[in-house]
Amino acid sequence: MLKLETRPQPSRLWTYVTPLLAVVITMLAGAALFAALGKDPVAAIATIFWQPLFGEFAHYYRPQLLIKGAPLVLIAIGLSLGFRAGIWNIGAEGQYIMGALSGAGVALALYPMESVLIFPAMVLAGALGGWIWAMIPAVLKLRFGTNEILVSLMLVYVAEQLLAAMALGPMKNPEGRGFPGSRNLRDYDSAHNAELISGTGMHWGVVAATIAVILAYVLLTRHSLGYQIRLTGQAPRAARFAGVRTARMVLICLGSAGALAGLAGMFEVSGPAGQVSIDFNVGYGFTAIIVAFLGRLHPVGILLAGLLMALTYIGGEIAQSNLGLPAAAIQVFQGMLLFFLLAVDVLTNYRIRVATREVA
């Protein structure tokens, strides 16, 4: 019989080991899943984890790692602040869309003017768009005590409708021969979030993600605001006793998560995606939740987890085209990662004891 025993202190070792263990278990369960689908499990796992990095076409896939990783990390960093404080923003996907719409809106409004100020203005607009979208659940929570999980999640679907409306209406490319979608910002120099070093995938979003990681690290380990965020999450009553204003925490955590998600959306629409289209969002905002937890809500962990998750995205696409795995199987695979992480997480706070049947 197995028994769980509370550890006197959370185990440092297991804090670091559980994410790796979760990855390994996910690989095993994923292999079983792929085998059940009639695919060679070893080849499938190798395709997902090996091909993008060291395969034949790695030179093409490696830059993709940064391109896909940057928005994940950027969003996850913002989410992690809220998660640490016990504020559950599930609507990063919507904030990401709104950031993209705001940033692209600025560019499309100014087209075809060329100025070095356009891109910075888009950055601001993107952050602002995401921030405003996140302020809706924040204000409703503070004013009426609504649940931020539900409100932020439902606002994702509102944002998706807005995206479709924009892609088909006001933002539609007038020279697009009736096709839905906006002008391609890659063809608009002042608004193009181009690769900074060609062939690396390094764009402004990657820079922003790196800065976010560093700032979040400093905030959480050195600054009293980060301390207050952690205190609010771990012991809300103690936080009030320590003079932390809960309302301020809600505004800061939801606000920064929204702004960072908005930034991610803006960098995406002006670079890798290029245009506002109906299918612009691909779920970064939801995947970032997994990234945040896989990274233990720690900035450096999130950086690594973001890259890992980007790898499964890219590897998943390769597996789809090369092995004919259904896209849903890849999503299940990613979901399993969070599932197993939460499952093995129990080892951080508990240890397993094999209890022999006690003799009466």
């Binding site: 202190q9 009553r237 006793f241």
Partner: protein, 582 residues
């Protein structure tokens, strides 16, 4: 350390007594035993390293050849109700019970005494089937007893009243009782039975009342009656008087005594030594998971028992006469709505504390203590002028602004309120120390300074911990409490408000904390001490008031107050009838 059975068939039971404390008269204990028809006892001392070098059981003196013979001639020896033999239970990093043995006889009140972390709760949890022993055996009436769960324990006749009640506030008394039963009878029949039991045992309780409206004492009666309905042979009570007024304690003791005359044995956990002396027949004292002594409380002084618990003598706080100075904290007409449906509203509270003075606030649990502390700490805001600190209106200020002005507080709940359980002691030191200790520069944390502050608290207040990086939850209750109080005291408060400063803390730590409060007052600070421990309040306060349902009684000099008057103040002087009838 297994029970030895000699040829005569007598169970040999161990009893060790601290050398030097054994001044009991054999005859009395002997009488006690005869009337209870318990087995005769011889003494063996087998385990090395026990307290003292010799084991003395006064009963042994009775076992003259004649006695032994007469007992041997009896055809049957009724085994003790419950005999526990070398129970051991280890948790990661600590052996909570190390070969603990004791014996409970029919109709006795057996006290289980010990400091926090001595292993009292582990032991009763094993008896009640909540925890399984690693080794050792229990026998109930001579038959092996190993309850798999509390249900099995209840079936065997063992019932327990916990310190923290498990009642649903929104349901009636009868409904709550029904919830705990495997096959509850119809509610009307159950109500009738509850009425009958409550009449029989002098525990006034109306089965139709909603639990949320009951006082702590009445809630406890629900739990007791719930136990009595099962017709228990052994009733375990965990610190039952911590929530009661002196009058309610009397009612409870009356009931317990009545139960013992009917043969029910009571295992009574407490750290209130005087209480144990008045109620209990025998006491087993645990220290660091071992039983170190058994004594007859009536014949042992509270001080002796305290020393056996701690294993060392400790100094009672010195009370130096102080000349009170100017008024430092003034509360006038403070009213506040209840923070939640089952919280307590504060009504027109007025008090003042002078420098160099300790004002003690008593009252049963739930009388508004938490709410008063929250109002003073700044967690809940009031009208600006309702609270003045050195003449400055601070009612609207937040906790940190008040700290800067010199008003520091220590709430009752250590884990989760006064301290964050998962955070290190350094981080917990930062929690309230940031302002006055200058632990922040431009919002950035000076971790080195914070760690030094935590270390200073640990050293000055003798907090037993490997170091400042340990999580708060890893500390024992007493050590964490010393840390929490020390954290505020070291910041040189002008006014310190504490709620239950020694709640659940061992005697030595409690003495240290009280001494720290007295020293602080002697240094010119004004101290408001909210506590449910009357002995404590009488020991340290200059003046005394009591909270009752959110109202504060008149404040009177502590000197010369007798228990009767205090009880009336706690019961609410505006309605003394209610207390008299309770």
């Amino acid at each position: 350390m297994h029970p030895q059975v000699d040829e005569s068939g007598l169970a040999c039971h161990e009893m060790t007594v601290a050398a030097g404390h054994d001044e009991r008269k054999p005859s009395q204990t002997g009488c006690l035993m005869k009337t209870r028809a318990a087995p005769a006892v011889v003494t063996r001392k087998s385990a090395p390293g026990h307290y003292g070098a010799i084991a003395v059981d006064t009963n042994a003196a009775l076992l003259t050849a004649g006695h032994a013979a007469s007992i041997r001639d009896r055809p049957l020896v009724i085994p003790p109700l419950l005999s526990i033999d070398s129970l051991t239970r280890a948790y990661p990093g600590v052996v909570a019970n190390d070969a603990v043995s004791l014996e409970i006889r029919d109709g006795e009140v057996h006290a289980l005494l010990g400091e926090n972390g001595a292993g009292k709760s582990t032991l009763v949890k094993m008896i009640y089937g909540l925890v399984k022993p690693d080794s050792g055996t229990m026998r109930l009436r001579g038959a092996p007893y190993a309850p798999a769960d509390p249900h099995a324990a209840r079936k065997a006749g063992v019932a327990m009243v916990f310190q923290h009640f498990s009642l649903f506030d929104a349901m009636s008394v009868a409904e709550n009782v029904a919830l705990g039963m495997a096959a509850p009878p119809r509610l009307r029949d159950l109500s009738a039975r509850i009425r009958a039991v409550s009449r029989t045992y002098g525990l006034p309780l109306d089965p139709d009342r909603i639990v949320g409206d009951l006082s702590a004492g009445e809630r406890q009666r629900v739990e007791i009656i719930r136990c009595l309905l099962q017709d228990p042979k052994l009733l375990i009570m965990d610190e039952p008087t911590s929530v009661l007024t002196p009058q309610e304690v009397e009612i409870l003791f009356h009931t317990l005594r009545q139960l013992t005359t009917e043969g029910v044995a009571i295992l009574y956990i407490s750290h209130k030594l005087e209480e144990i002396r008045s109620l209990c027949d025998r006491a087993t004292i645990l220290r660091r998971g071992r039983n170190v002594a058994t004594c007859v409380p009536r014949e042992t002084s509270a001080r002796q028992m305290g020393e056996m618990m701690v294993g060392a003598s400790f100094a009672a706080p010195e009370h130096v006469a102080r000349a009170p100075g100017a008024v430092a904290l003034e509360v006038s007409g403070l009213s506040m709505r209840a923070p939640s449906a089952f919280g307590t509203a504060l009504k027109e509270i007025s008090l003042s504390v002078r420098r160099g003075e300790i004002l003690g606030i008593g009252g049963v649990a739930g009388s508004g203590q938490d709410e008063l502390l929250a109002a003073l700490a700044g967690e809940s805001r009031s009208a600006a002028t309702a609270i003045r600190l050195n003449g400055v209106a601070i009612g609207r200020l937040g906790p940190n602004a008040r700290r800067r002005l010199g008003l520091l507080t220590a709430p009752e709940q250590r884990l989760g309120h006064a301290a964050a359980p998962e955070m290190s002691l350094t981080e917990n030191a930062l929690m309230t120390g940031a302002q006055r200790e200058g632990l922040l520069t431009h919002g950035f944390i000076r971790w080195g300074a914070a760690r030094d502050f935590a270390r200073a608290i640990i050293t000055r207040f003798d907090v037993r911990t490997p170091g400042p990086d340990v999580a708060a939850r890893a500390l024992s209750g007493g050590n964490l409490q010393k840390f929490v109080i020390g954290r505020e005291v070291l910041q040189r408060p002008e006014v310190l408000v504490v709620n239950q400063p020694t709640w659940g803390v061992d005697a030595a730590a409690a003495a240290a904390i009280r001494q720290a409060l007295l020293d602080l007052a002697a240094g010119g600070a004004a101290i408001l001490c909210i506590s449910q421990d009357l002995d404590e309040l009488m020991e340290i306060s200059d003046r005394f008031g009591a909270l009752n349902a959110g109202r504060l009684s008149d404040i009177r000099p502590a000197q010369g107050l007798d228990v009767e008057e205090i009880g009336l103040m706690m019961g609410g002087a505006h309605n003394p009838e209610a207390v008299a009838h309770a």
